[in-house]
Symmetry: C2
Subunit: 224 residues, 2 copies
DNA sequence: CGTGAGTTTGACCGAACTCAAATCATGTGG
DNA sequence: CCACATGATTTGAGTTCGGTCAAACTCACG
């Protein structure tokens, strides 16, 4: 459902203000000099910190997460090249972000963006749209965490990863622990579920970080 | 954490554009004549329908939810008086909304709001802020569904319900099924967990739709 | 009162967790 | 280039939490 809706959207919005803003945001975030590299597992920002910047993945993968006092972690999203994150109307970050792999991150001053949005309503509408899309994705994730079995969660995750891939051959940039914390499972359950999918001939796992969808129909059926 | 952040926010924003917009939205939604009543369990809008209106709860309680093909339902939020819902930058609703109790709902034409936002960047920023707060709440819900035990989920829910109540005496407007579908549990588990809290002396349940927090400290501890 | 939906309780089951060990992969120093 | 050390992943055995199925109970309403 998530995917169906997202596929429908671009057409709806061709003449909408969002397009203009996205271009603007993208440009703002790609200005040379406003670019940083982060090492694997390095923190980009922490929850509660001042939201001085807005970020955009240029290369690599980022995770956004919340942590409970006792250390339990819930990853709310993985961010891929092109994705914008750390965008807040308020002045503090409401989640943490870390590099999953080494990555290049483009930065824009949050104040610049906020000022632009205060002066230009098209810009403000663009920011709203970005946040709104994020909300849509997170709500779909709610359904996954609240109502889907382990097998369905893993299947949904693999389909997310391979959505852009034509040949169904995809590298998995994140660890089993990251996957577990994204899906609300344990690493053992994630691993066992992947093994079962492999035994069933639905996927192949040449290495633990590479998957090949050998039976996409079976996958789609599994993810509910 | 959700609550801590929300409590911090109003001060941050006193001089921000959000305040102005919220007033504007509120007024737009309260115009006499643009008001409807819904009966218990009546649908307000369905996912995929045209988003012609934006809604505001005047009295009663509303639930927003997604449904899977096989009928599994995940409630993403309960809306209480003062809450705005159905706000979308796109032109279709991305979730469904139904009346939990009989309720009075204020309506604003979505196009009017969109036009206002396109002309007035303050308005647009206000819409962004509303969506952003919703995103914050939903992300906290992700943590609950992905990482918390049944006991913690129920405790969190009860604390949400009683957050505004001074005396800890609160009526529960929704059924056990609604609670279960909000917390990602079954009605039996919800019921058993409430019974256990009552046996432990943490809450009292004079009727199934009324709770009294007799030991708020124990509750707060339980919700993690 | 009697009916039926909503709720609670009980008995049992199974999916996912925990703890533990084996296996695999990766990078490092000799 | 190989041997080892370290962390990541997989697999196994046993447990537990929450789900399922079924029955009893409550209560609002006709």
């Amino acid at each position: 459902m998530l995917y169906a809706q997202e596929e429908r959207r671009p057409e709806q919005f061709v003449r909408s203000p969002r397009t203009a803003l996205q271009i603007e945001v993208a440009e703002g975030l790609v200005v040379p000099g406003f670019k940083m590299n982060f090492a694997r597992d390095e923190e980009i920002y922490g929850a509660g910190e001042e939201a001085d910047f807005v970020y955009k993945v240029i290369s690599g993968v980022v995770r956004a997460h919340l942590i409970l006092d006792d250390g339990r972690r819930q990853i709310s999203a993985f961010l891929f090249p092109g994705d914008v994150f750390g965008l807040e109307p308020g002045d503090t970050h409401t989640a943490s972000a870390e590099a999953v792999t080494e990555c290049e991150i483009g930065l824009a001053k949050a104040n610049t963006l906020r000022r632009a949005a205060a002066e230009d309503s098209m810009a403000a509408l663009g920011l709203w749209d970005l946040t709104s899309r994020e909300l849509l994705r997170v709500r779909e994730h709610l359904m996954l965490l609240g109502r889907k079995s382990a097998a369905e969660r893993v299947a949904s995750f693999l389909l997310e990863l391979t959505a852009r891939s034509k040949d169904g051959k995809v590298s998995i940039p994140m660890s089993r622990l990251d996957i577990a914390d994204y899906l609300g499972l344990t690493i053992e359950t994630v691993s066992r579920t992947l093994s079962k999918l492999e035994r069933d001939g639905t996927i192949a796992l040449p290495t633990s970080r590479q998957i090949i969808l050998t039976n996409r129909a079976a996958m789609s059926e599994a993810h509910a």
